[in-house]
Amino acid sequence: MKSFKFKNHEFQISLDGILFWIEKKIAIISDLHLEKGSSYASTGQLIPPYDSLETLNNLIKNLEKNKVSELIFLGDTFHDDQASERMSHETDLLFKRLIKTYKVIFIRGNHDNKLSIDGVICCEKYVLDGIHFIHEASKENINQVSGHFHPVASLRVNSKKITAKCLVHSENLIILPSYGQYTGGLNITKSPLREFIDVNSTIYLLSNKSVYKLPVSKIKNLL
């Protein structure tokens, strides 16, 4: 866990990539890509079918450790439009438990842009205290929290290269790492992600053991 201020509100980022808005008891999660495994399977690549179960189990376990009443999913919760139909019974139960336990808001992403669930808010944008929750970062000058890019960063430590998921914190924006088991990443040095990062940005790197706060200005070989 690492805490930081964004627009005078206190936030915390957990090791597995959940962003907590402390005073509001909100947890923000991005890019679960549920059923990515079975989506590959339907085209002939039979990769192990444990991803959704693993993702949801981890999420529920970590949410229970924190005092949270509301969840905001920043889009690409499902890997594709048919994903929920492919979910196993067990996964389905976990998912239902999640949306029953918490007040949940789903932002739609490019992978699940038709998402709609009975009795649950599904929208393109959600605004709270002037902070816009959207799927993909916007060039507009608004305060925003988004996902979409699955940011990762590489660092050289003692001549070894470490690559890990990260959260990007620039003046007006936060970009969350992806939460899903089978999600890859886009390096923050690569376009278009790098356009949202400047010398005043801070990276929160989620390594195996802890979250590292890294001001971009102080990292050599990063940008």
Binding site: A41, G44, L46, P49, Y50, D51, Q181
Partner: protein
């Protein structure tokens, strides 16, 4: 004999050229006519290829064959070799106006030509194991091969002990089902255990090995030089001037090196020496195909003076009149060395001429041992290998793509493949299950299964799409992801993605003999420009690092163990050994010498432990991991280690007291299994297995993935599987491959057994002469790049030689 064989057209052609049949060629025909499958073991340049084709030619000349039906299939491990053999075979056919159609089919063949070859097959088709797998996976495979009479496998020894060989063997077994009367001919270089190679070729009772004696023994020398042979390093820069002189004095020469990085550097340095403007070219696997073809072409026409090459020129291609082969660095194995020497004076009755240039002192010993092994006819052994299960998975899918199969019939057919002779039905069914639905205990994927039972209870693919995907993913070679190097509009060749990742814009590197400046990456192309920079960063390619063979390792240990053997060594080397003997000890062939001594690194006292195992870099590397792990547990606080082909050096903060506990074999192996689970090696092998078995695709049509993305995905799968299905088929394969491959488990456990009661421990007060190369290597590998310059190393070297009393 000739009359009986009716080979007039070929004989006429030979006579015209003043040539004649060799006995082994005629014997091959005779034995084949008697119904034998034949393994022909002969040195390069012995007319081996013609011998392989003679029975087929004889049959086509004298007997009827159904029209538009394939008669002979020729398989070689190298595309270039199929092209070369094709050209050579056309010579007599065209000269004698024989009505025999010969064509090649490889990954380079146009799809138009491939389609035509399917409609109207030639008499003889020359192809690679991968292209054969593709042909066999098509629905028409049965009709295509049913009249096949001869199957020729060239360089079969190079295929036996590999996943590529597994794939080929499974397909040989397939062919046997389709064309049971087809006769097989294998062509092999000289190896120790010919019986394994014969069994791989054929398990018929009527199979036989024809052995051709080595020609007059080759004349091999080690480069004589006034300059001191370096303690460590692999670039042989010290010898460039002498090598250049040798090139001047020969008509055409090949300079063989072991890695592409060496090739680039040696080529670059030779050009610096090139006052006489000799035509020197470079050839290695990363260069663009056209550039390689151009060099090959110029060689065969005798237009070059010298070619610097890696193993890309190893296999039996006839490249014209080479009269000198120079090998830089040790060839690492006797068979490989013989093959390379065979490039010169490509005639059976003339001795070939070769020159060895050791790049450091240990290599000097290796070179001496290699020469005496050749003189005494000691050969490398090819270890037998159980067939890999990821390859089997690929094959099962291939069979299903071709036609519906019955489980028991397929199992029987697979058991006829030599590497899979011990396969248990239970394992086979496990692989089948994997092909079907991924083999997970969670049965979510049954709806997506690739193959399933049809009404006749036969397994068949679910849809045509699966066949198309199979076609794109066939083969067992998983290369690192390569990026194209582009200079303007020209593609110069390919480099590994990780190499470019280590570069910053403006960095320079040697490639294709030029010094290039890295500019940027664009659409997976490496954009470069030429530069006047004189000091390039050398590409340190991953490929080409060959482990020292067990046989050669034994020879080196034997060489140094007896003082009387040293008299043939140059004085600088024998003096080094003599001093070592005085100062410490020299181990016998079955012994292990372990030295400990204190030494300061950056003004801090460190304790060094050196094991002279001579077991190859891979085994030493693994040993290094294991020993340092145990040292850690025992409180010696190890800091780091360096492994070379010959020895292992570990340094620690505390002095090691008990060596025997560190090296006891039982605990060692337990540690190994535990350690392996955490290594990146296991992940890498898992990725390869996932690709070969078809779990992950190489290329998704219309979507280009970069290598890193593939890797990332396979790592995720790896983690999930380890957690949920720790005994999944692919994890089994990855573990197995790790034991066999870089870890060299087999060799390591033999080593540990061998040394059990044979450890000589020397507690020294300072560095020993034999340890100097290791300490230099430590500095080469571990100190910040900016600090490593030749000056620094030179200074260190001088200091150490003074310490041990060498001049």
């Amino acid at each position: 004999m000739l009359d009986k064989l009716k080979l007039e057209p070929i004989n006429n052609w030979l006579k015209k050229n003043n040539w004649h049949f060799y006995n082994h060629q005629l014997e091959t025909v005779t034995k084949t006519l008697q119904g034998y499958d034949v393994l022909l073991v002969a040195p390069t340049g012995g007319g081996k290829t013609l011998a392989g084709f003679l029975p087929a030619l004889e049959d086509l000349i004298n007997n009827q064959h159904p029209k538009n039906q394939l008669h002979t299939l020729y398989i070689s491990p190298l595309k270039a070799l199929t092209v070369d053999v094709h050209r050579n075979l056309l010579a007599p056919i065209q000269d004698q106006k024989l009505d025999i159609k010969v064509e090649t089919r490889t990954g380079d063949t146009s799809s138009y030509k491939k389609a035509r070859q399917k409609q109207a097959p030639p008499h003889m088709l020359m192809t690679t194991p991968e292209s054969l797998a593709l042909l066999l996976a098509s629905p028409e495979a049965n009709d295509y091969f049913k009249f096949l009479k001869f199957l020729i496998i060239d360089e079969i020894h190079s295929l036996v002990n590999s996943k590529r060989g597994d794939l080929l063997s499974l397909n040989l077994s397939r062919l046997e089902t389709i064309a049971p009367k087809c006769q097989k001919l294998g062509l092999s270089a000289t190896v120790k255990n010919k019986n394994s190679v014969l069994a791989f070729l054929s398990q018929k009772n009527k199979s036989i090995t024809i052995n051709v004696q080595e020609r007059s023994s080759p004349s091999i020398d080690i480069l004589k030089t006034d300059i001191r042979v370096p303690w460590s390093g692999h670039m042989a820069s010290y010898a460039i001037k002498d090598i250049y002189k040798k090139i001047i004095n020969s008509t055409m020469s090949i300079v063989f090196v072991n890695t592409r990085a060496q090739a680039e550097l040696v080529f670059n340095k030779l050009w610096h020496e090139n006052e006489k403007n000799l035509k020197i070219a470079i050839h290695h696997g990363s260069l663009e195909k056209e550039m390689r073809r151009k060099v090959e072409n110029m060689m065969s026409r005798g237009l070059l003076d010298c070619v610097v090459a890696t193993s890309s020129l190893d296999l039996g291609i006839d490249w014209g009149n080479i009269d000198l082969v120079i090998q830089i660095g040790s060839p690492k194995g006797i068979a490989r060395f013989l093959q390379r020497i065979g490039r010169s004076n490509h005639r059976l009755n003339e001795p070939s001429r070769a020159l060895l240039v050791p790049s450091n002192r240990f290599e000097y010993l290796e070179c001496v041992s290699a020469i005496s092994s050749i003189r005494e006819n000691i050969l490398d052994e090819i270890n037998d290998k159980e067939g890999s299960l990821d390859v089997l998975a690929q094959h099962i899918l291939g069979v299903a793509c071709s036609k519906p199969f019955e489980v028991n019939e397929l199992f029987t057919e697979i058991k006829n493949s030599w590497p899979y002779r011990n396969l248990q039905i239970k394992k086979f069914l496990e692989v089948l299950e994997f092909v079907k639905n991924g083999g997970y205990s969670l049965k979510n994927y049954d709806q997506y299964s690739k193959i399933g039972l049809n009404k006749e209870n036969l397994y068949t693919i679910k849809n045509k799409n699966i066949r198309n995907k199979y076609r794109l993913n066939v083969g067992t070679i998983v290369e690192s992801y390569m990026l194209k190097v582009k200079l303007g509009n020209r593609t110069l060749g390919q480099v590994e993605e990780w190499f470019i990742e280590g570069l910053n814009e403006g960095d320079t590197f040697l490639f294709g003999g030029r010094i290039l400046e890295y500019q940027y990456l664009s659409n997976n192309n490496v954009i470069v420009r030429t530069t006047k920079d004189q000091q390039p960063k050398i590409p340190s390619y991953a490929g080409g690092r060959l482990p020292l063979s067990s046989e050669l390792s034994f020879q080196v240990r034997s060489l140094i163990s007896k003082e009387e053997n040293w008299k043939n060594l140059p004085s600088q080397i024998s003096e080094w050994l003599r001093l070592q003997l005085k100062f410490s000890n020299i181990p016998g062939p079955e012994e292990l010498l372990v030295e400990t001594f204190p030494r300061n690194i950056k003004n801090k006292k460190r304790y060094f432990l050196i094991c002279y195992s001579f077991e190859g870099r891979n085994a030493n590397q693994t040993l290094g991991f294991l020993i340092s792990k145990r040292m850690q547990r025992m409180g010696y606080k190890p800091i780091g280690f360096v492994a070379t082909e010959y020895a292992l050096a570990i340094w620690s903060m505390n002095m090691v007291e008990d060596i025997n506990i560190l090296l006891s074999d039982d605990i060692m192996l337990d540690d190994l299994y535990e350690w392996l689970e955490e290594t990146p090696l296991l992940k890498k092998n898992f990725r390869d297995a996932a690709i070969i078995s078809g779990l992950i695709e190489r290329i998704i049509p219309g979507q280009k993935k970069t290598g890193k993305q593939i890797m990332f995905n396979s790592d995720l799968i790896f983690d999930v599987l380890k957690k949920h299905e720790p005994n999944h088929l692919l994890l089994q394969v990855a573990r197995q491959d790790s034991y066999r491959g870089l870890i060299d488990l087999d060799r390591l456990s033999k080593f540990l057994k061998r040394i059990k009661k044979n450890i000589i421990l020397k507690k020294l007060n300072q560095i020993s002469p034999l340890a100097i190369p290791l300490i230099l290597e430590i500095n080469r590998q571990t100190i910040d790049k900016s600090e490593v310059n030749e000056y620094f190393l030179q200074e260190l070297e001088e200091q150490m030689t003074k310490e041990v009393g060498l001049n």
